[in-house]
Symmetry: C2
Subunit: 555 residues, 2 copies
């Protein structure tokens, strides 16, 4: 079997000028980055302001399992399938973080015959957006420590600085550091830590900004910590938001690449799906909506986290109105939710499936709460039995949900044609989506609504730290914002071991944090790791490039 | 008077395709980065292997003074002047570091009507080379700490790790840090520090590598520290040189931009001029040599540091044979070397000039030791008196050195035509340059030769630490390498206050360090700062960009 990179390298890419040409864009609208990548000018969005938006399709999934669901692959495959049946499709994806590429094999470029290319560039430096975010974040950090060193006019409390440095690297040694050591010339010692770049609030801001002005405004609103009187200090107090915006002037432009079948793919922004909202940028999605008939996008993790945040945060901020939601599942993953062990997943087992399908059922019910209609995509594996497939189809028929088998990994767009037709049918009949809650509600009411309505929990318990944070945010009057839940992706609950569709559980909120620039309130359940580490044998050890540019070991 | 950025923004840039076209390059040879920047494929150098090299001209200067000399401006202006008189000229410059842009106003893009453009891009992220170096450096750092965390099979001594992390930021708080804090999941605590990216050995390697294979080989040879038995550990022992080379696959390609007068400028690599050799990349210079008749390049700091390292390190490694050396001076700077105070520099003062011209005299003598002939460029200021100019001309006539007045800041290439003609005359008569010393000599003999022959010192004193390092390097048999001197740029001696041409002084060597990947031995005199800090009011505070992309406060 060919590896993803072999398949990718055998594909025939069009010059990016021609991919853009399919969408009516000319060279003036683009900044090329080599022959197969380009940035799209924000002028395009301004120029097409009056053009009617395309239909927006969200691809999400059941709670992920070790069996794998293939959400990105379906997203790319559906885009290719729509192209195949003659629709103008544009795919809008997140861009991958470089750090994890060197840790465990993986990426966010799809797989098999449903990939975006050039995958090696997309997974390495791409067009430099991650680096721009790293630099912008760390300029603010340097400005904070410099301000303190130069007299600390703002009276910043070195014990209460919330804003951390970042690097796009899996580097556990940087999680907790002491900086400013070595004496007077090196500033004041304090505790700090590095997060991975995608966890930066700058990344969340990039993805939620609707213009360069809005980006700058939001960066100025980042709450960096407290002064010694306990009052909030914002980035704008240091007056570096202009320089920060300048550093982001190219990064704010959406990136254009293509799929293996030359469907245009806009890949832009990739915030963490836990402490941030896990969706590509609003500007990229809006640009895509002006350039195609159908825009296919995805959100991080399963539907309980990804789709909820897509709908309650991104769509709300961006004024987006999605037309359909694809929920990806596999027979194997549903059996896993039914308690079947990993080693037994290839054995037909309708009983296990019956137990596990409740996870899919709950995600379907959830999507309908947003006044949206889901379509289920069953990503087919050779081990799936006819009986198992039949069971799922019957189950979904009873729920009056459309379902399609997909084979996009093996067959590319051809393997997603049935799904494409069903998605179109649903999208054409769509109404207006509605968010789950009103942002004007108190923080606890908003959290409670998500826990009860989406997760199926019965109650929420707040740590004293979380209680205090909520009081502080409300006292500052900065609480009228959507909630960004950080929760295990593996369960509808906050306990990764509770598979299927648990109910009656209590969700424990450890921390509540204000991401004032991004414009949401992060609610943390359990520990959230914002800086990964490298494994015993990092993927980096197997990577190489020869003098002719042949790449080895990358995926 | 217009600012540099105003002049730059008023210029008419050609599409980079057309700049490349002037040199016979086609779109296939290029990777565009927007409309005005491109990377040149390494295939060009391979294809043109048999083409005769252009004449290589080095621009250097007297020891810099607060009065300013304008070395980069002359480099760009000379390139423009050569174009103006009908020669195929290519300029080869270093790329600026992003960090200092936000500190004190400055940059490495020339000035006035002799600039490279687009200056805002060149001074910000450019084509991402700095970010690639940062990432490559920090991947190696992460691999070191991960190796220790995962069992430390190599027995790396956490107290003796030499390889530091880097960021392209002026951030004094990161000079000295403790990493790996927070307990077992975060690895082993140890002392570390961040340097600015241009100080990374990866940068020096990029600039000295002659191919991607060579780059990879050199990265593997980086000495990262010692094991508990006191034996050297190299990057290749961690087996990440392949991944590191992969991260550098685009960064290794030279970048093409243009001057205000559309002369092609290749800007690539910018290592520190103290702990590294301060020249642009060999690959860029070699590529330029295949594409023009005259290549104008520069080296960091004054001739005693910059030209010496250009000739003894870069030219030696690259097999380059320069044809002429331009030494830039100003009447004001020469008077400063003669002891005239900054406030009095605008007052005509032949006596002060007479005292200070010895600095220029010594630099001229030094260049001739390499079997090269210098041309002096006097960068003209309105305050210069005819008498002063006449004095310099007479002085240089006696030394049989060609001299030209230049006004490239005010007039662009037109202001450098006289210089261009004199440079051509010298270059056409050039022989074969020879390095100052044999690399096979013992370390102390090499250092002694530089101190006596170039600086005019009488002796060298080594600290116990330096003595120990020399013994260790020699014991490992890694001493047959050129010396990379790190010394104050303001004096021929190691004391910044000794202006003019001091003699009889002792140079104190504090530290000797092996840059085994770069392939040189760093000899540190005095303190060398490898991570700058931000000033009280950082330049960043005045920077901004508006919705239409208009940039404010950048230079």
């Amino acid at each position: 079997m060919k590896t993803d990179i072999q398949i990718a390298q055998e594909s025939t890419m069009l010059h990016i000028r021609d991919v853009a040409g399919q969408m009516g864009l000319t060279e003036d609208d683009l900044d090329f980055y080599g022959k197969y990548k380009a940035k799209i000018s924000l002028d395009v969005l301004r120029r097409e302001e009056k053009t009617e938006d395309a239909k927006l399709i969200l691809v999400t999934a059941i709670n992920p399992t070790p069996a794998g669901e293939g959400k990105s692959t379906v997203t790319v495959g559906l885009g290719q399938a729509l192209t195949k049946i003659g629709k103008k499709a544009v795919i809008a994806l997140r861009e991958p973080s470089l750090g994890p590429v060197f840790g465990v094999k993986g990426g966010a470029a799809g797989g098999g015959y449903s990939q975006v290319v050039p995958m090696e560039d997309i997974n390495l430096h791409f067009t430099g957006d991650m680096h721009a975010i790293t630099t912008t974040n760390n300029l603010l950090s340097a400005a904070i420590d410099n301000h303190i060193h130069q007299g600390n006019k703002l009276n910043i409390d070195v014990r209460r600085i919330l804003f951390k440095r970042v690097l796009d690297m899996n580097d556990r040694a940087l999680r907790q550091v002491n900086v400013g050591l070595g004496g007077k010339p090196n500033g004041f010692p304090r505790e700090d830590g590095f997060m991975i770049t995608v966890a930066s609030e700058i990344m969340a801001i990039l993805c939620l900004a609707t213009s360069l002005e809005d980006l700058k405004e939001r960066m100025g609103q980042i709450m960096i910590g407290y002064n010694y009187d306990g009052e909030a200090i914002f980035a704008r107090d240091l007056n570096v938001q202009g320089a920060m915006a300048l550093l982001m002037k190219d990064a704010i432009m959406p990136n254009l690449v293509q799929t293996l079948e030359n469907t245009p793919a806009i890949i832009h922004g990739g915030p963490f799906a836990n402490i941030a909202h896990g969706c590509n940028s609003i500007l990229a999605t809006k640009t895509a909506l002006k350039l195609g008939d159908y825009v296919v996008t995805e959100a991080g993790f399963g539907a309980d986290l990804g789709a909820e945040k897509f709908l309650d945060i991104k769509c709300r901020f961006g004024g987006l109105n999605p037309s359909a939601v694809v929920i990806v599942a596999t027979v194997r993953a549903l059996k896993h939710h039914g308690g079947v062990q990993k080693a037994d997943l290839s054995t037909p087992n309708v009983e296990g499936l019956e137990k596990g399908i409740v996870n899919l059922e709950k995600q379907i019910e959830n999507i309908r709460k947003f006044n949206l209609e889901p379509v289920v995509a069953i990503n087919k594996f050779v081990s799936d039995s006819d009986e198992e497939i039949q069971y799922i189809e019957n189950f979904l028929n009873k729920m009056n949900v459309k379902v399609a088998l997909t084979e996009v990994w093996e067959k590319g767009g051809e393997g997603g044609v049935e799904l494409a037709h069903k998605v179109i049918e649903v999208a054409e009949g769509a109404g207006t989506y509605k968010p789950l809650y009103d942002v004007e509600l108190p923080i606890k009411e908003k959290i409670g609504t998500i826990v009860k309505e989406i997760y199926g929990g019965s109650s929420v318990a707040y740590s004293p730290k979380a209680e205090k944070a909520i009081r502080e945010i409300e006292a500052m009057g900065l609480d009228k914002k959507p909630i960004c839940m950080a929760k295990t992706q593996y369960s509808l609950s906050d306990n990764p071991k509770l598979l299927g569709a648990p109910s009656g559980f209590e969700v424990k909120v450890n921390e509540v944090k204000l991401s004032n620039g991004a414009g949401f309130i992060v609610c943390l359940t359990g520990d959230v790791m914002t800086m990964p580490g490298l494994p015993k044998v990092p993927a980096a050890n197997n990577m190489d490039i020869d003098e002719d540019g042949n790449i080895l070991g990358l995926f």
